[in-house]
Subunit: 355 residues, 2 copies
């Protein structure tokens, strides 16, 4: 059997980190006996330049027909001035929608070797290991909205946060299943003291988690969670929350790890999954060979695990990354005197060798 | 002229910290020649127990007729099981609405002496001085909503985030005026790449800030702001944002300071202002004399400054707090060997002596 993976390098440092990750993915797949066929597609600024739109129909069609999509990063100041419907964000939101991606998994692991790079004191953060499960296809991102442009009336705009019970159920189930493979705790985050959607969220979360008696569920208000992530990140195992709160909290949690260059993500639905590092396209450092490819490499590991059912190959990549970091190899963003500095490509090759 | 201040001790440690703050307020007012008459009122659990509702009409009437309200904290597990309309939050939201409080000011200052208590590395956080200006009477807190209970249909709930241009204008103006007295920078936070309300917010913020040519305005997406607060808190001066984002970001920023026991808040409208420490009622430590009264004491300073036009008296309190901390006096939450440990009351008296 041959799997099909669509590769979207994108903009800025996207092509560099994707090239690096593909090398590692090829190596791990070969070693694990996983056959993959790759198809390169356009999205974001690159697509806008070449096709006049940020998400060409050909990319969507290829992604839908594939087993998984590996994406670098899209967007950049070059395209910041374009009309709203042509913006790079539309490629991301469009792909999520086209592929029915409703579960965004954002693991944040503070590797011991990197705790000194965290903005938090090492004793508070070392060993933290959080998985944020963000609902990705509902909430205020996709509710009805009204832009402000009514003549002769004060400008007014609105957005609708909306959730149905089945949407909440399926994402809480994803979180509970993930927790079973970890420390068996799920923290559901909402603002149930104010929002109707949050009250529904809390009720459905309780009901859904009841089917997982081995998993302990608790609840936090989003404002309190924003505090606790900084105060006591080690207390969290799995966090499950809606689209907007997940956007904010997953980025807040990300910076605890010392470098967002290290962090992967997976967006899952019932079809192909989308895998991408959480960092942006960082056009200011593009083409210099200094970008950290580890976020993209760990995204490739998630791809193997979640879409290609290749747990051993995924583990091999993750262990190799951990070993290489422990041995003191670093890209520019994490380099300190006494360690060994590698370029984007060299880092990928070190990880390949380690596999 | 005699000012009228309504005092709402509330629940848990509320009465202790309010008593401590009143001592300091009396001292500073006397020294500054400010005449104040105090009226004690009920709200929260205490009101529920004595009057059957969390926000009695008498409290609302007294607050409306006063120049300012000083509040301790409301709520606690004792009342967690009550019906939604009886919850302590209703007292807070009800007071905000009754007094037309649209601007919540949340200063976060990382005093040098306390930087070791921050979860962040001292070099990253020492000297940070942020003022978060949160819109408090609009947005998704007050938009239409629908609870989930429709028979024979999948449960669905929704909330409406809604803003008008005049609401945005007046809060951005508050932020710009505050920035003029500080480092003259305002960061407006939104999610304009997704939300219609955020796009209106951004447009109106630009237009409003144009009238303050000496103030520099920039914009951040809320997810990025959640990152930057942890990565580079010293880069912020004034942050202005909507009700929900402000709730999350102000709590996130609060933990940077090392103890939320230190932080005050002011909620302002066109009438009397409401002043309260940002900490909760902490029933687990109530009545033990260990609560930190400084958040409430600094709230009293804000009350003097913003509602009683008594800048000198406000400055006197703030300088006294700074001096007492620098001299090594601490309540239990911030005590470390080598420093001098004080009870709630003793801390208040030390600050009074310093004034
Ligand atoms: C680009 C933007 C629409 C997107 C989001 O908010 O979902 C991004 O912040 C993310 O988290 O992937
Ligand atoms: C109690 C709650 C409704 C309130 C809010 O969200 O506004 C609180 O979190 C706050 O920030 O004062």
């Amino acid at each position: 059997m041959t799997y099909r993976v669509v590769v979207i390098p994108g903009d800025g440092i996207g092509p560099e980190v994707v090239a690096a990750a593909l090398g590692v993915l090829r190596k791990a797949a070969a070693k694990g006996g996983v056959n993959i066929e790759y198809e390169h597609c356009l999205a974001g600024g690159a697509a806008l330049d070449q096709c006049g739109e940020p998400l060409p129909a050909a990319t969507v069609a290829a992604a839908k027909a594939a087993d998984a999509v590996l994406l670098g990063a899209v967007g950049g100041p070059k395209w910041d001035g374009v009309a709203p419907h042509l913006r790079a964000e539309k490629a991301i939101l469009g792909l999520r929608k086209a592929l029915g991606l409703y579960a965004n998994l954002r693991p944040v692991r503070v590797w011991d070797a990197l705790a000194p790079h965290s903005p938090l004191k090492a004793e508070a953060v070392a060993g933290a290991d959080i998985l944020i499960v963000r609902e990705l296809s509902g909430g205020i991102y996709y509710g009805a909205r009204k832009e402000a442009h009514v003549a002769d009336a004060p400008d007014e705009a609105w957005d609708t946060e909306i959730y149905t019970a089945p949407e909440i159920e399926r994402i809480v189930r994803v979180a509970c299943r993930a927790a079973r493979l970890r420390r068996k705790r799920v923290t559901s985050v909402d603002k149930a003291n104010v929002l109707a959607t949050s009250r529904l969220w809390r009720t459905v979360a309780e009901r859904t988690a009841a089917a997982f008696p081995d998993v302990r569920l608790d609840h936090l208000y989003v404002d309190n969670c924003a505090m606790q992530l900084v105060l006591a990140p080690k207390n969290f195992d799995v966090i499950v929350t809606g689209n907007l709160f997940g956007d904010i909290l997953s980025d807040e949690a990300a910076v605890l790890a010392g470098s967002i260059g290290l962090l992967p993500s997976a967006s899952l639905g019932d079809g192909p999954g989308l895998y991408e590092p959480i960092h942006g396209s960082a056009p200011d450092i593009a083409g210099q060979g200094v970008a950290n490819p580890i976020g993209c490499i760990l995204s490739a590991a998630m791809l193997l695990r979640h879409s290609l059912d290749a747990k051993a190959a995924a583990d091999a990549i993750e262990q190799a990354v951990e070993a290489v970091l422990a041995e003191g190899y670093r890209t520019a963003d994490l380099y300190r005197p006494g360690l060994t500095r590698l370029s984007t490509e060299e880092m990928a090759r070190r990880i390949e060798e380690e596999i």
